[in-house]
Subunit: 356 residues, 5 copies
């Protein structure tokens, strides 16, 4: 819930200061890919130094860094690829809003990779640098989602190998965006479940489930909305790092973000409507319960009163008007008939009013 | 409810990959029309090859493909008419947001055809290609809605035969948009029904009906909104595939989309207002029920207490203050008078407070 | 409620087809006015042919057609004044959204004339053509609202006679817009009534009245919003049919539409607030009722219990602890004192808690 | 509540017609000020004729007209200062939306002066004409708010005397806007009062107070919103009647309107939140009441049942199983113990469930 | 709550008048810093005169004034640095909306410093002047937040010393914006607490806590929204006082304001959702309570009625049908069996309906 925890430096810290997060420390893994239409070379556990020397090659380079990167590694990379200090600071401090910035010779983009953790949707930050012939990507957490990209890179003759680094950059962003679809499908299933439960029996915990759903929709929305802007800017800005033939794919990618936003909006409206139905069905059940109570009370109270009357101990000998009924031979039977008539009349009256 | 099911490829799939849907498989039917101001030729069950050869003719061609198209057919068509790979991918994966794109020599539009299935409004995707002298349309499901177009095509001397392919393109879009009107009229009837039910008796299931109505409004809205954009772009973009004399008809078509949006908005506001009335009438009924309970309890509780008092067994012989009333000759009658007075007083008091 | 009924052609109908409404058939009346700064000639029950010949005169012409116009009449007029087919179609099919279109030498505007029918605000369509020296107006229903215009036309030397057809066109639109004011004043009175009722006693039917009010506000809003756009476009578009000296009056007219929108928004907010107050006052009344029930029950239940205790039939002879109280001479009086003390204590306790 | 009453002419009235209001007739007072950096001359009860002749002087003139101006006076002024007929109509008919219009050589602005009348915020219209060297202001009601301006005018050497008429025009607008601050402060106090009441005890009338507050916020908002536009246009439009050195003060004035809008928005959100708290605290109190009822009923019903059992009159002599308990020597005492145990158990159970 | 108290002058006051606040009087402290890449000189308790002479030096000057500044000091400073009268007025009257204005050779910005006072978020005004080689800052309250800046100034060789006054200006704004993060984190913690409480047990005071949360969110939002505009204008306006190399840092600062707005929006949606859950859980608890009452009543009312029947005193000798059951040997035992059966049946029936 606390969306801001540990995501900011102490106010007044010098901008560009590289301060590592204390709370989370994930093992670091550097993957280095050197590829060209003709050749492909992958180093699964590369060192920073290998990355820096890789820059010299004429081929295209993709450096993918998984886990919690330390300030030292960042500084080496930053110097070798002349990455901007403010961008590096953003890489290190997670939880940033997706955005794209142009720093000198590079494009720097922050994207979000949402995944489910302890029943909640959370988001890992993915930071991407695009240079003339390299892509550097930092992924904090969220599992190995770029395997399909690597598979396509390995396949000789594929578009991925022939096109420039900007196509790889696009492909990474595309994967990050398309990764929202399975999450959204799961949300759709949850809505269906809630709808069924609410319409059938108004189980008690539905309000909590709707709340949890809204929270997750909110989390997703917080990232998809700026990501739409990121893709839109990449597609429209006449940046020479993104070639025109890649822009057409970014347009496709933009359609996906719009579709995701669309689905999130629809789900939000559905959730709001379900909450209303839930609340009204809680009220309806209350009505049902109270109606039972009222019928029972209304039937038995007059009867109990009558039995009370004839349980009184007035002295029958005191006078002719002192409970003479007690001595009548058919009074008891008559009272039963009267009481049944009263009860039956009440029930009929409630029935006619449609109470049950 | 699950608006996203089966509508996306696995993240990381290469863009433009033609992957057929597994879950739905509808019989394929290809209709080929070759027409001109002078001649008209219809092939109801054409093969893909016939379509490809039809392209050579100088006349205008309309290829209409109904049902689930397979990847092979798409590839043949795509090559013959040089359709863009991203467009073909969109044709195959259903559930897209309406949009219009310019790919090389063609306009590619996605529209939605909503229809009712098992009491819910669902939408079939209709994909349209407009070339210089041909229109290719793909319709997944939703029934034969283009029969009026075919009738107008058959009629010699009609506008449809004389004008270019762009007019046919417009006419198809017009049908798709006007098809929302009967659905909206049905929604209007449902609102009227709900309004009558809510204002009269607050039947229990109205909340569900309002929810279902909102869901259908939402579904329609999701498609009409982007369709408005599609028609607006077709009308305003200076695309040479759409002739100026067709634009005036698109303007008319645009008015219809605006009117549909308008009606949807009004219905949404009506639905929200009805929900409020429904909730408040549930509360009112609760008040009624509780009021009955309170009146009954308030009348009988004091009476029952009094009968309890004179049902006590204190020994009258113990002293002059030990229930002497029991021996008074008119005590019983007096008690009845007292009890009737209490009951009557209570009823009068409630009446004056307007409780019934 | 059903805002879309009978307002659309069957999907696929050729655009510009003149299809008469079947459901409503109002008597047709054609009024023809031929006027100039110098002369004025009115034909109250003109034929279409008279209208067509009137065109030849050098003076300005106003043709006003009331009731359900038939397709034949429209076709004759359309040919004589070269009115566009799409515009004629819009004249015939009622219920259109207000709009203004330029067709060749004419301006075509659709406006709405709201009036009250069976307690609800409904709207009649008014269609207006403005040519170089003529105005043609079609009014389906809603009463004779243009009498003040005719009066001003008859008055020699008035602005209306001297100025061009565009001033008449403006004057008609002005009347149509100003006709919303009395309706809005009536809505204001209804809000005042509801406010008084809700704040005083939360009568049962207020929710319905608020709902009806919202519905009428919605209906008005649906027409005023696009009318604002119509007036704005007439005022700003550099259309040579509207002379600059008329634009200043259109600006005034625009201010009125803005003021109407403003009032509608305020009333909508008031209605929403009143609904909240109503709901909360229903809850308050429920609280009141339940509180009475609780006080009564809480006072009498312990007392009834006590009378029950001393109504038990334990054998006083069985032992010294078997209801010895029954034989005490002051037990009965003591019990009364106790019971009164309990009842009084309860009442005091409730009073202190502020329950009544 | 009825915001539109008496504020419109009969539809179809000729534009620019000067129709006096019938319902309100306030005494008319004309104040005439003739001033310059060097001299200052005030006529407190001027006639229209004096005003007209005052125009001839080389100095700057301010004519301030308080109360209900009649059509005759307006016509004389209109002719002397060549005021536009549409502007004069607006002066006469009160309740206009704030706006600014340029008519020939003049700027015409309508502003609102809100004040409290019978516990509600209402607004008087203030109309302002700015000419080259004169300002004419019409104020219908609302008290003498321009006294500080007059004081500053009287003070020799002040900015007001040295600067042009546009500065006086600005100063009047500034007073009108700043006059909203005390009203807003009063609204803030009312919110504080309501908050205290709602959080403490959910008094019954709070819903009404919140409703009244919302109504007043709405009234203020209706005037401040367009006034912001007025000031913004005065500040940005390159109108030569407003000198650049005055624009800087208008910018300051604009900041005030933004701040007022801001406060109104915040108060609206606060009011909405308070309504929610109020509704939920009403529900909580209902819960409290019902819980008391339930506890009392649940404790006493079983006990009363038990006393009922031993109040039955089965014939002990009929057999060994016919109420033998009645004859046991410790049965009575035992029953008391049992009943106290039941009552105590119930109370403990409720306590553990946190019911009281 | 009263956001407008004491924040405005009496309407009609001359603009630029320096009127001191009466209600708050905080001790004044002037800090003077004279620095350059080479030297740094700090005067912790400077006099106004020192500040004025400091201007003559070639180095950069930062004057920081803490507490309630008096009109005299302001006038001296204003004359020395030629600060605009309207800006000085804004410095003196606190509670202004954040804004940035260009006055002659200076940029004048108002920012807000929120801090917690008596459990509520309040905001102190911070006013900043940026001249060619000086920064003057006024901070009314809120604690010593600029210490990190001073530390960075003292450090020789740091960016802060080498760059121009615009960098210091940026750094002060950056601190003010980043100071919202800890407050927002605290709000996030409060949301978590409320969520836990609401989902677990719907404690009574949660509505108040949610209200307090909303109020604080509102307060923050009121300041962050215009601050975003301030930073955006500083970043984009081609003002020569802000050097291009500083703009890149302002862009970073802008990202922070966007992120803060984002978090505030998310928290607002969360708070609204929590309120709904809270209200629905209050309803659920009501249901629970009423269900207990109904079960108890429904079980015991028929039983009590039966004991009432056999507690009646009809004379068994009056005839064979006058309560013969009283003499049957197993009637008492049988009645117990019947009563237990009724009670058990009721309980089973409730169980099957899922009432407990």
């Amino acid at each position: 819930m606390n969306l801001s925890r540990s995501r900011y430096h102490a106010p007044g810290t010098s901008p560009g200061a590289l301060i590592e997060r204390k709370d989370v420390k994930l093992p670091l893994r550097i993957l280095l890919f050197d590829y060209d239409s003709g050749h492909f070379e992958a180093t699964e556990q590369a060192s920073v130094e290998q990355c820096v020397t890789g820059l010299a090659s004429a081929a295209k380079t993709w450096i993918h860094i998984e886990g919690s990167v330390d300030a030292a590694t960042l500084r080496i990379l930053g110097e070798a690829f002349s990455l901007h200090a403010l961008a590096l600071e953003d890489v290190l401090s997670s939880g940033h809003r997706p955005k794209v910035d142009r720093y000198g010779e590079q494009l720097f983009a922050i994207m979000a990779l949402p995944y489910v953790e302890r029943g909640r949707i959370v988001a890992a930050q993915v930071s991407l640098f695009l240079g003339k012939n390299y892509v550097i990507s930092f992924q904090e957490a969220g599992g190995d989602i770029f395997e399909p990209i690597r598979r396509r890179l390995r396949a000789e003759g594929g578009r991925m190998r022939n096109r420039g680094s900007d196509y790889l950059f696009y492909a990474l962003i595309d994967v990050l965006i398309d990764h929202k679809f399975p999450l959204i499908e799961a949300l759709g299933d949850r809505i269906e479940d809630i709808e069924r439960a609410v319409l059938d029996k108004a189980a008690k915990s539905e309000a909590r489930k709707i709340h949890a759903l809204k929270r997750d929709l909110l989390t997703l929305r917080r990232f998809v909305w700026p990501e739409r802007e990121v893709v839109n800017r990449l597609r429209h800005d006449e940046d020479e790092l993104i070639k025109p033939e890649t822009r057409i794919f970014l347009a496709d990618c933009y359609d996906h973000t719009v579709q995701i936003m669309d689905l999130l909006e629809s789900y939000r409206d559905m959730a709001a409507s379900l909450m209303e139905v839930y609340v009204s069905s809680v009220s309806n059940r209350l009505n049902d319960v109270i109606r039972v109570l009222t019928v029972i009370s209304t039937v038995f109270m007059p009867l109990t009163f009558l039995t009370g009357v004839y349980g009184m101990n007035f002295d029958r000998g005191a006078g002719p008007f002192s409970m003479p009924e007690l001595g009548w031979p058919y009074a008891y039977v008559g009272l039963w008939v009267l009481m049944l008539a009263i009860a039956g009349g009440m029930v009929l009256w409630f029935r006619r009013r449609g109470w049950f």
